[in-house]
Amino acid sequence: MSATPTIAFDAARCDGCGECMKACQVAKSDDGRPAQSRIRIVRDDETGSWGIAQCRQCGDPRCASVCPAAALAKGGDGVVAWDAGRCVNCLICTAGCTYGGIAFSAAEGHVVKCDQCAGAPQCVAACRRGALRYVTAAKLYNRWGELEDLFVPGLGGCQGCNTELIMRHALRRIGPNTVLATPPGCIPGMGSVGYNGMLGCKVPVFHPLLTNTASMLTGIRRQFKRKGRDVTALALAGDGGAGDVGFQSLSGAAERGEQILFVCVDNEGYMNTGAQRSGSTTYGAWTATTPIGEAARGKTQEAKNLPLLMMWHGCEYVATASTAFMEDFYAKLEAALDASGRGFAYLHLYSPCTSGWRFPSAANVEVARKAVETNFAVLWEYRRSHGLRLSRDIDEPAPVVDYLKLLGKFGHLDAAQVAHIQAHVDRQAQVLRELARAGCGADAVG
């Protein structure tokens, strides 16, 4: 079964204004008078929170299973559709639904339910606080799912790591006309280069030194070009292979404008060798080389902001992305791939490390989401022609402690350290805000 769009509700953002219900009453009216809203927001007086009753467009809808007249069925668009011509008004569907998603309307004389307004739900459009979202990411998964997976089944990552997701989805889109470089780090450790003489993927792949990834790709791309072949030169590197040990060759290739797509999967340390600190490890974090003791309280320096450093190279394209925001990641991958045909494209992905950062393996995407929602990791995009743009609003971030408290590597932080991190996050956000406002473009960088 294909995945389909859905209306998602975030109770924490809802203030019960009721605009969604008013919009629905108008959208579903036949005669100008308000119809019964297909979405119902209810207040829990005991907890003060808001709840929702609306059709979930279930994958296996029980309203349809119990309907004696075959008047309800899930369509290919994901909507559980109600057929007025078949309905006998027995209301048994209302017994089948445990979500209050289909209910009798006395005014209309029959059951009513959400139909997602044919792909443009009016309740979502009316919600000013972002409590309702029309989540269409699933469409992307369907489209991309049809592309060939170019990695072998069964990559050997740690449980809950998002790097496999990044690798597979990136290479699906970038396609088979690719030469892939994966310098030492988690990615070859997971099996990109293969085991026992067998390749780990269906494209030519090699294992450069930590130091020379961008140099080797430079030569490969140029040699193919000389032979008249337009091949994508792709690096999937960690933050060490990109920003620390690999930085000299990366910086050189970026400055020369080599036609390379360089993807950095940043887990803020040397995680596959035992979680040592790197230049990307953030202030206060525990690592094997920034331990916690009587005096030591984790790393004492700030992380360097590698994507900003890359932007100042005047690359064709630089962006940051997160696996908690896949649509945004996909759009940036698309843009980066396109830009790599003209010059250097650098894509920086935040990759929470379940084992090195010490959090439950099921929480990876939530950790990634909180990093973005607190401005700890800001999503932005730089194009040489247009300058820097923020990918989402950063003006009302959650407090950074919401992110820090999820991670064992920050478990020891005292109030002063938390305040230090909050100040740094605020300062960094302000720098990005000002860069975006200034329309920081080719001229400013050049």
Partner: protein, 425 residues
């Protein structure tokens, strides 16, 4: 002859109504490859008994009411056979006999043959023409007879009898309902709700005789007349017997499959014989409440049983035990609505029971909420809307309502949705 060789399927489902169809879905959800046959004794595509009152009323014709089209079975890669009546089950040989001599072997078998109308042993009944309402043919015959009935007698005030009485009254018949219990819709609604429903019927000219029996039926030309236990007579240009249903189990004689009130099953719908399951109206459904609350004959229950059976047959590891039947009805009458979920408090209810009522005599709407140890047992409403599916889930989850019971009485729709939002949304 090709037919002489016994055919064999990994799964055979007997009956293509709600339980059988849901089982097919559940089997295919887990086993995409096994061969599946469904044997339906009917000539036509399956039609749910629940839509038949709407055929009788003329709201629906014969077309466009099928529970599933043939295409649905084809897409599931199920061999759908009509006019295939099973006459015997040989569980030792794992095979079925069909009326026409064909034998079909099974790996796993589901009995979902439903129920047929129960006809009470009333003197003279067998000698006259009477109607029942279980199949589409029954419904068409009743529809056509109702137009010229004049006087009609309906035996039984269950949902089938009440729906039919309303339809007959709407086309101008003078209708008498005879019910031996002391209220209409016994087992579905409590006495107060039933009294309100009765009052609406009386206002529409329907005579309702509760606590009464028909002693005898006598022929009067093409029509008949019924003699009541008090001695009075009622002419019956049309006589409808709606005295409930009994599981269709005659073909199981000699099969070794235990039958009580219906086919005996465990919580995974397994019968007493290996590789044979049963679901829907053919089984003896256990009550969720573990008491004598009537269970069975509830459409959503049949669907749950069908799914449980199908998952169990296919070996789906996600299968969970069937929790037992909860009475559940959505009943529309003369443009009004009555809803019931769960059970009423017993006559000898102890202090652990609590009954909350809104809308006494004189008020338009009525709502009753029954609690035991603070947990919802039943909700009964007339002209008060709520989400029956949410109430059903609150009962199954044995949610302690505490202080929320009052909110539930005041606004059952919103209060139920608040509980749902907090508990399982």
């Amino acid at each position: 002859m090709e037919r002489s060789a016994q055919q064999r399927f990994d799964y055979v489902v007997v009956g293509a109504s709600h339980a059988g169809i849901e089982a097919l879905r559940a089997i295919r959800a887990h086993d995409g490859d096994g061969s599946v046959a469904v044997l339906d004794r009917e000539v036509r595509l399956p039609v749910s008994p629940t839509v038949l009152p709407y055929v009788v009323s003329g709201k629906r014709g014969e077309d466009g009411i099928a529970l599933r089209e043939r295409r649905w079975f084809d897409e599931l890669r199920v061999d759908y056979r009509q006019q295939a009546r099973v006459t015997a089950v040989d569980s030792a040989k794992a095979s079925l006999s069909l009326g026409d001599g064909v034998e079909i072997g099974y790996g796993k078998l589901l009995l979902a043959t439903g129920a047929t109308p129960a006809v009470p042993p009333i003197d003279g009944l067998a000698a006259v023409r009477y109607h029942v309402l279980r199949t589409l043919d029954d419904a068409l015959a009743l529809r056509d007879a109702g137009r010229s009935a004049g006087r009609a007698v309906v035996l039984g005030a269950g949902l089938v009898g009440m729906h039919a009485a309303e339809n007959l009254a709407r086309v101008g018949a003078r209708v008498t309902i005879v019910e031996m219990r002391d209220q209409v819709l016994p087992g579905y609604f409590d006495a107060t709700a039933a009294a309100r429903i009765e009052a609406v019927f009386r206002r529409h000219g329907v005579e309702i005789l509760t606590g009464r029996r028909i002693e005898q039926v006598v022929a009067r030309g093409d029509a008949s007349a019924v003699a009541l236990d008090g001695g009075e007579l009622r002419d019956a240009g049309l006589l409808l017997v709606a005295a409930g249903v009994r599981p269709d189990v005659a073909y199981l004689a000699g099969s070794g499959i235990a039958v009580g009130r219906g086919v005996v099953v465990d919580a995974f719908m397994r019968t007493t014989v290996p590789n044979v399951w049963a679901a829907g109206d053919v089984v003896q459904t256990a009550s969720f409440f573990g008491d004598t609350t009537p269970a069975g004959g509830i459409l959503p229950d049949a669907v749950e049983q069908g799914r449980t059976a199908g998952m169990s047959m296919a070996g789906d590891p996600a299968v969970t035990a069937y929790p037992g039947g909860v009475p559940l009805n959505t009943y529309g009458f003369f443009g009004r609505r009555a809803l019931s979920v769960g059970r009423d408090a017993p006559a000898d209810a102890g202090p652990d029971w609590e009954v909350l009522v809104r809308g006494g005599t004189g008020s338009e709407d009525y709502l009753k909420i029954v609690l035991r140890e603070g947990r919802l047992q039943g909700v009964f409403g007339v002209d008060v809307l709520f989400d029956p599916g949410i109430m059903w889930e609150l009962i199954l989850r044995r949610v302690e309502l505490g202080a929320r019971a009052a909110a539930l009485l005041e606004n059952p729709e919103d209060a139920g949705r608040v509980l749902m939002s907090g508990l399982w949304r």
